[in-house]
Structures are given as C-alpha cells and as structure tokens.
Amino acid sequence: MEKKIFAHKDLLGIEGLSVADLELILDTAVSFKEISQRSIKKVPTLRGKTIINLFYEPSTRTRTSFEIAAKRLSADAINISAATSSVKKGETLADTVRNLQAMAPDIIVVRHACVGAPHLIASRIGARVVNAGDGANEHPSQCLLDLLTIREHKGRLADLRVAIIGDLAHSRVARSNMRAFAMLGIRTRVCAPPTMLPREMGVFPGVEVCRTPEEALREADVVMMLRIQLERQDDVLFPSLNEYARRYGLNRQRLALARDDAIVMHPGPMNRGVEITSEVADGSRSVIMDQVENGVAVRMAILYLLGGQAE
C-alpha cells in the first residue's frame, strides 16, 4: 500500500500544500466523522498532548470547533483569548510565544487579525502551529471543511463550477478557497462590489471576475456567500446594508440561476437578510449545517495529522 504522510510541521495555509495533502486531510476527516456518531465520542489518540487555542480575535465557531476536535482526540485543550491574556497589557507576540513555549504545548491553534502572525509564531516555537485565520490571508481549516462538504454533496471536486460572492478583498476564506480551487481544477467565478475586489485578481489562476452576481451564479454547482463585515460600512466600501442586500445578496430568485442541484454555503456567522436571505439559508439547498459538522471532523484530521512529535 502506498504510504501517505503529511510532511509539514505546521498548517499555515493552503498555499504550500499539494493536492495529495488536501486529499489526505479530507480522507482522514471522513474516517473521523464516524467518531462523532458514537455514544462515546472520544478516542485516546492525543492523550497527554496539550493544544492551545490562541485567539486574538473573537470567534465562537472556529474556536469551539477546534476545542471539540481536540477533546474528541483526548488532548488537553486550553483556550487563551486576547481579552483575558496579557496581550492587552502590551505584551508583544514574541513575548507571548516565549511564555507559551514554557508551557510546552504540542499544537498551537492561532487566530489573529494580522496577516502572517501564525507564521511568526511558527518560526519561533517547536510546537506545531495551525492557522485558524490570519487577517485577510488564509483560513485553511475552513477551506478544507468547505472542500469536504462539496465533495460529499457533489461526489467529486474536479470540474465543478463555484461562485463566490461578497467581500473578496477582506476574506481569508475566499483566499484559501481560491488557492485550493485552482489546485483542484475547480472553475471559480467571483463577484464583489468593486470596492471589495482587489485590482490584481489575476494572482488567483482560474478565477473569473464577474460584474454581477447573476453572471457569477449562472450554472454554478456550488454557491459560496461571504460574510459582509458590518464595520466595512464605516470604511465607505458600500453605502448601506440595504443596498448591499439588493445588489449582491443571495435570494431565491438569484439562486434559481444556479444549477438545480446547486448547494449553498456560508462560512458563518451569517448576516441574515444581508448577504443571504433566511429563506435560502434555511432552505433545502443550504448545506451550512453540514459545513459546521464537517468542521469538527476536518479539525480532528488536522490535529491528528500534526499530532506526532513536536520538532
């Protein structure tokens, strides 16, 4: 049998992974889904390992998902959030890393508002680092759970058409996904208000920029809506939520342009009535809850694959 290994110290982004790496993580995640259905939802695999969830940005969903994943693998999961740590007291990231090092963690899961913060931590600590979102750069575990959800519903990843609609400039989910889609031969159409669309979209090969959401949605197998951050209104990136909803939001009429069996995804948390109507979010095409469920399995797979010896 072919021996597959995950030969990376850290998981900092989709960038740097191979198609084989993606497939390994997804296949491993499939095996982990069964554990969450047992009455005893726990295996001893990472017993005695310490996993620190270091969150510099508030995040209930991702943090909880990583925490459940760690606990189902019997690891000791510790949450440190910026609000409760010395970060607020002016401690630098380097100081924090030195302190963490002294606690001898095996894996550190990092969420940070700044691009590259997990890379900085990874370069200074022996523990393995998982990027749980760095600025607008990457959110690899979200991308992987999206891929798993798409594969489950579509039976494949190749030759699909995906539409991504929303704030592409500030979306780490979109960046990770556009990277992965390019590797996997998925055809991606994107649409964003021009104020939320980087000028140089050419850096993402295979991504077609559309002027209207209608154009992006046409014949799509997968519709991925991005969260609009309400504070962007203050940056004058769009005039009002109403106008955004009218021009770019996903509703029943727009969804009808996609293929009949198209699935609807959202990384959460949703602004109902803004980027997506409740009718669509809760409708039969929505796989948003599957994304949440797959999140735990994918994160178990990531922790498992990284969970060997700290280097």
Binding site: L93, A117, E200
Partner: protein, 443 residues
C-alpha cells in the same frame, strides 16, 4: 601642520572632471595638492598607500533618522555617525521626527552640539511645521541660523496645500530646500505593503502607487507655480519617475532621491526576503516570509518600478541616492507585520550596494560619485563639499572596490539591525573615511 598623503589611489572627482591615478596631499583639514609622485616627510605626517582604491569626495547621505533626542535606544547621533563613517559617509543629514521634534533652534542647536563630538558631519533638517502637526510653520529662519540645512516633514506630508505653499515660499527666502515626503494620507490609509499582486494574494491592506504620485504631482505643481525648488524624497514608483521627468523637462526645479532598497528589492521580498536569484546569500538567518525588514514607507514596489528607478538614476532624472536610514530596535520589528514600524537602516549597506550598480554597468564611477557626493552637497548648499579641488574640505571616501565580503548586521556600528540585506555577498568596501583631514574610519 597636520598633513596626510594618500598615495597611488584612483582619484574620482567629477566636479573637476578628474578620474586618474594621483597622489593627494591633505593639509590642515583641506585638500592641499594633487599630483603624480607627491612626497611627504614622515615627520610631517602620515603617508597611506591606497593603490587600487578609489579616492572620492566624501559621500553625503541626505536622508537619515538618528533618533536623538528621544529614542536613543534605537540610535544616537554618535552611533549613527559611527555607522556613517564605517559606511563611507563623511556627512549625514538627519530628519526632524525626533522626540521632541526638531522644530526649534533649541533642538537644532542640541543636535549640532551632540554632533560636534561625532566622527562625521551631521546636518540637521528642521521640521516644516510645529511638531510635524501640519498646522503652523516652524521657525525656519531660527533653525537655519542654528544649522538646519533643509526642511522636511519626513514621515508624512503637509496635507494643507495652502500651508505647503507658504512653507515653500518661506524656505525659498532662506535658500533652503524643502524635502517632500510625498504620500496622500487618505490613499495611503492603513496600508502595509504596496498595493499589487502580493497584497492581493496575501490579503494585506495595500499602499497604492497613486498615494505617492498624487502628492508628487501636487508638489511639482506648487514648485512650478512658485518657481521654487522642491526635492522629492525616496521616489518609489515608475509613475513618480515619469512625473518628475516631465516636470524637469518643462523647467520645474525638481530634484529627487531614491533609496538603495528601492533599487534592489521589490515587493516579492515581503513573502520571501531571499527571492533574488542573482544574489549570493552567505546566510539566511532571518525569517524569509513576512520579514518586517521588508516593510518600509514608501513600500517596496514592483519589478517594473525598480527598473524605472534604476533607469532614472542612470539618466540623472533622479540625482541622489539616500539611505533613509531608519533604525528600529529588534523587538519593535519582531512583531506582527502589520504592527511593525516602517523603515530599514542603510548607512552601512549603501556603499557596497551602490558599487554593485557600477559592477552591473548602470553607473560609471563618476556618475556614482555625482549621486553620492556632488549632488547632495549642491542640494544642501554644503560649501567646501563634493569636490577634491585644492582648498576644498578634506572630506574623502576611499573605497577598495575589489574586496569581497558579507554584510553582517550583527557587526554594524548602528545600534539597530533592521536591514533586509543581512547575509548578502557584496564586493567593495570602505577603506578609509576621512573627515576634515582626519581618518575617522579605517578598514
């Protein structure tokens, strides 16, 4: 009589159209005599064999930050001057964004006083507005009397165009130039790196070229309208080069400078400090990805910008190279990329990098000396500098162009280490730095 004889060097003195092997006699802090086979009685002074070396008028870095007063942990006037001496500079101009700001004769005087103990000449640059706040004119006349050689708001722009006009008019009456740091604050925004493919791919807030070009256009229009000189600091975009060239063409009195890092690096350095395949790295001791020593303002731009800057430097559209030496302590730079302060140091890396440009055929040795000595002396009206004619100040940079070495930040005289060039294999190094006839650095 304090004398010194430099024997057998290649004297490169473009102002006097001289490029030949000659002996050079210094006496009482001045250039005394040039000629073949000069002799000096050992009792009268030292004779130094500089065969194989280039003997040039002292290099002047017209754009540095010395951090004193206020942030002496990053750099002091003395440590900066020592770094300058090691880097072959006999004079450095220091920007006004100290703490307190150099916006009064008292601070200018303090700098001059501190500089009197420094190994090289230190020329203070005064603030244009009080506290760099952009509201009221700073007392430029008093500062000029105390020793300020130019004025600048470096680090920011004067956003109020009416005020900018007044400042230019006032400085004009003092025969001092204003050095314009050109950036439109709104377009610059919270930008971190150049707005381009790297920013798009990695989700950084971008600093568009437009932010620099819009403000350069404004400064050029002011200079044209007022018929007064402006000096554009650290030009970084091809669009800026075109604006400056066109203005120069129609007679606007504009001068411009470029930094070595904008001539040698583009924004790919943000994601890989070691991206250059034509550079030999003796060591890769720094974090390659998202290394904050690739973060400066203006930011590293695109390869096409680097090409345009190099062409403009060769053609003389940009007539000065200045380091924009911006020291920051290690711990300040070892933070999240977005939170790191802008700026890198350059006093001890500029000379070998500029020699590389000569090696690449971009500049002749004479053009190099123009950019590094003649032009800054002229722009800052530094009398007795930039020339090796008899009677001029005995400020000399003696360069060994053949020696191979490795840039080692750890060995810098500067208090700070924030350079993107650590580990570069380079060729050519300062052999002697002579200020006022005195050797202040010898390799």
């Amino acid at each position: 009589m304090n004398r010194m004889l430099l024997k057998g060097g290649r004297v490169i003195d473009p102002l006097n159209s001289r490029d030949e092997v000659l002996d050079l006699l210094l006496a009482d802090g001045k250039v005394a005599e040039l000629g073949p086979a000069l002799q000096l009685d050992p009792a009268a002074g030292r004779t130094i064999d500089v065969a194989g070396c280039w003997v040039t008028p002292g290099w002047i870095d017209m754009h540095t930050h010395l951090r004193e007063p206020g942030q002496e942990y990053k750099e002091t006037i003395l440590s900066g001057a020592e770094a300058a001496a090691a880097g072959g500079f006999t004079g450095i101009a220091c920007m006004a964004n100290t703490k307190p700001v150099n916006d009064s004769a008292a601070v200018t005087g303090f700098i001059v006083e501190q500089a009197s103990r420094a190994p090289v000449n230190v020329y203070p640059i005064g603030a244009v507005t009080v506290g760099l706040q952009g509201r009221r004119l700073a007392p430029m006349g008093e500062m000029a009397a105390a020793g300020a050689v130019a004025f600048s708001e470096d680090g920011r722009t004067v956003a109020d165009t009416a005020l900018y006009r007044r400042a230019l008019e006032y400085a004009g009456s003092l025969d001092r130039i204003i050095i314009c740091h050109c950036q439109d604050n709104y377009l610059f925004g919270q930008g971190v790196v150049h707005e381009g493919e790297i920013a798009a791919a990695f989700g950084f807030a971008g600093i568009p070229s437009l932010a620099e070009e819009v403000d350069i256009a404004r400064c050029l229009l002011l200079a044209e309208y007022l018929e007064l000189p402006v000096h554009i600091a650290h030009v970084s975009t091809r669009g800026a080069v075109a604006l400056i060239a066109a203005a120069r063409e129609r007679g606007v009195r504009v001068s411009a400078e470029v930094t070595p890092h904008h001539l040698f690096l583009d924004h790919r350095a943000v994601v890989d400090l070691y991206y250059r395949e034509d550079v030999e790295y003796a060591r890769r001791s720094q974090l390659a990805r998202f290394n904050t020593n690739s973060k400066m303002s203006p930011p590293l731009r695109e390869p096409a910008d680097v090409a345009a800057l190099r062409a403009a430097l060769a053609a003389g559209v940009i007539e000065v190279v200045a380091s924009d030496h911006a020291p920051h302590e290690q711990t300040e730079k070892e933070v999240e990329y977005q939170y790191a302060p802008f700026g890198v140091i350059g006093l001890e890396t500029t000379l070998p990098l500029m020699l590389r440009l000569v090696g690449e055929g971009l500049l002749t040795p004479a053009a190099l000396v123009e950019r590094m000595s003649v032009a800054p002396a002229r722009l800052l009206s530094l009398r007795g500098k930039g020339s090796l004619a008899p009677g001029m100040d005995a400020d000399l940079t003696v360069i060994d162009p053949e020696v191979d070495w490795v840039i080692e930040a750890a060995a810098f005289r500067s208090k700070s280490r924030n350079t993107p060039f650590d580990g570069w294999r380079v060729k050519g190094r300062t052999r002697l730095t002579i200020v006022g006839g005195r050797v202040v650095f010898a390799a």
